[in-house]
């Protein structure tokens, strides 16, 4: 966009997602209301028609993800958003998109608990997001913003990565990040070199090859070959696209690891710990899939104690354990999601001190 304004704007995290989607060229949004993400469809119902886009409040999350599938099959950038119960319903469609190698962006503003649960900040859908979520053994790209600026930037990145690797990409945030307001620089869409999409359904002229977007593989060896192809693609993602943030890790004797809002609270607690003379740092994964394993492996060469802090009873810790050196210990502090369960910096400081002393 040439008339792009990059002055700072004061926005909710969810609004930043919606704004970034439009800047990323997304003109197809299909959604269904659910707290705490409804600001996204509300924003896009207002703004998409102004730029010639299409907004549908679908009959369900099943409907909306399948509309994303259909739009993506034509080559359009398409997005949907939801939270726990709705993301569960979308899993069928996400699996079909993964099986059909379709790009598309799914935003999950996590809410608490299984079933109807609650609307408090949660990270209990880490497994659902990073393990694929639906049937059939696939993965999707998962990006974890920890600020409103990152809600904006990572949404745009999600569209690019989805197109580059031909797979669905998810922006996975807790409701604190979705609901809080911060100032944001609405950066213009980066000029990423994207692969062409010769595979889209477009209406084939006589003599042109037929394009079919499908996930059915019945021929001898076809399905197996598909699995290995995707496996190689996930490996390529891991090699090229891992993103993470390190904070005061250089001399750290204890590394706290967390994503999303707990990572921010942990930063405050780490600064308190530094003031108290403890050498503590933070490793914050930004891509949850691919998980930045190498960052953990490298840091664990010198630092032998990690503390995973999550708004769950412990999910990311599995990936942390698989990533660090064998002689590194990984401790856990979790607050399973629910009203009043967001930890305070003081609370995390106590945990840091306890683990720091254990490390010494």
């Amino acid at each position: 966009m040439n008339n792009h304004k990059t002055e700072k704007v004061f926005l909710k995290g969810n609004e930043a997602v919606a704004m970034a989607a439009i800047e990323a060229g997304c003109r197809c949004y299909f959604g269904y209301p659910i707290t705490p993400q409804s600001d996204i469809p509300e924003y896009l119902s207002r703004e998409l028609p102004k730029v010639g886009g299409t907004f549908i409040q679908a009959e369900s999350e099943i409907g909306s993800i399948n509309m994303v599938l259909g739009a993506a099959a034509t080559g359009a950038r398409a997005m949907t958003s939801s939270s726990g119960p709705g993301i569960s319903l979308k899993q069928e469609g996400i699996s079909y998109m993964a099986g059909s190698e379709l790009p598309g962006v799914i935003v999950d503003i996590m809410r608490a608990g299984p079933g109807l649960g609650g609307i408090d900040a949660s990270q209990a859908d880490y497994f659902q997001a990073t393990r694929g979520g639906g049937h059939g053994g696939y993965r999707i790209i998962v990006l974890a913003p920890a600020s409103v600026q990152e809600m904006y930037d990572l949404t745009m990145l999600a569209f690019d990565l989805a197109d580059m690797y031909r797979m669905p990409a998810m922006v996975l945030a807790d409701s604190v990040i979705g609901q809080m307001k911060e100032s944001v620089t609405p950066n213009p869409r980066p000029k990423t070199e994207l692969p062409p999409k010769p595979w889209v359904v477009r209406g084939k002229a006589a003599g042109e090859p037929q394009n079919v977007v499908k996930s059915l593989y019945l021929g001898d060896g076809e399905m197996e070959a598909f699995h290995w192809k995707m496996h190689a693609r996930y490996q390529e993602l891991a090699d090229k696209e891992c993103r993470w943030e390190e904070f005061m890790t250089d001399d750290a004797e204890l590394i706290v690891t967390a994503f999303g809002s707990p990572a921010r609270i942990a930063k405050t607690a780490i600064s308190m710990a530094r003031e108290a003379g403890m050498k503590v740092g933070l490793l914050r994964p930004i891509t949850l899939f691919p998980f930045p394993k190498k960052a953990y492996a490298t840091l664990s060469e010198s630092c032998k104690r990690f503390l995973s802090i999550e708004l769950s009873t412990g999910q990311m810790i599995d990936d942390v354990r698989l990533s660090v050196a064998r002689d590194a210990e990984v401790a856990f502090y979790g607050r399973p999601p629910g009203a009043g369960s967001l930890p305070t910096p003081e609370e995390l400081f106590v945990q840091i001190r306890k683990n720091y002393q254990a490390a010494a």
Binding site: T54, I56, V201, K204, Q210, K214
Partner: protein, 247 residues
């Protein structure tokens, strides 16, 4: 010698996997003829459903998206909204459309999506082996209604062409059959109407085709044809149920 009958260009020159006497083949042919006669193959996107017609892309020489079971109208909605200049049709069985996909079809129809839906009602789940479908007729025995469909337990069959004709978003809704030359000629006319409806951007068009499934009905092809006229047509009357498009 003059050739008077040939394969429609938008059908591939391949053998289908359909059972002998199955009406899916006839319906494929009529849809392909409509596409050819309007000359729209190069603009057409088909959306296949899950059922015996899942191999739509293997028979039609047009671009195809394969939708999850029941979701074809939602997939078609997404495709059409992204490419309003294309002709988008779905092809769905009765289990697909009227059971698992009921929500998607009703809402796409109600939004008046500019798509064409070809609905093949054979009163059973063909692909999975002849289980009871939402259109299985009262008393009809299937592998999951061994005592015959009991409407007190299972509800009465859905009459989709009538049901959808109640919705303002629907521009054209008709029911046809392909069990006799006369019915085939009428079916072709209605299928063409449905595509014309979309070409003229008049809104959602729906064609229900009464079809045979000799295999799962346990009948010979001719017997199955006869069942369509003796049992199905009296219960599911043929005709145009809505035509606000004036076709």
């Amino acid at each position: 010698m003059k050739q008077v009958f040939s394969r429609p260009e938008s059908l591939k020159d391949v053998q289908t996997h359909f059972c002998p006497g199955c009406h899916h083949g006839s319906v494929h042919r009529l849809v392909a003829e409509a596409i050819d006669e309007f000359g729209i193959a190069s603009q057409t996107i088909g959306v296949a459903s899950v059922g015996c017609s899942v191999f739509l892309y293997g028979y039609f020489d047009v671009d195809v998206i394969e939708a999850p079971h029941g979701r074809a109208p939602a997939v078609a909605t997404g495709a059409k909204r992204a490419r309003p200049d294309r002709i988008v049709f779905t092809y769905q069985g009765d289990g697909d459309l009227a059971a698992i996909g009921m929500s998607e079809i009703i809402h796409s129809a109600n939004r008046g999506e500019d798509i064409t839906v070809i609905f093949v009602n054979n009163t059973t789940y063909g692909m999975t082996g002849g289980q009871m479908a939402p259109t299985t007729m009262p008393g009809q025995k299937t592998s999951t209604s061994p005592y015959g469909r009991d409407i007190n337990n299972d509800g009465a069959p859905f009459k989709m062409a009538e049901l959808l004709s109640q919705l303002e978003g629907v521009a054209f809704s008709a029911r046809v059959a392909v069990n006799s030359p006369k019915n085939v000629i009428q079916a072709k006319k209605m299928i063409k109407n449905a595509f014309r409806c979309q070409i003229e951007k008049k809104g959602f068009s729906f064609i229900e085709v009464l079809a045979s499934c000799p295999t799962n009905w346990g009948m010979q092809p001719l017997e199955a044809n006869k069942r369509v006229s003796d049992e199905m047509i009296p219960y599911f009357p043929l005709g145009v149920y809505r035509n606000t498009a004036n076709l």
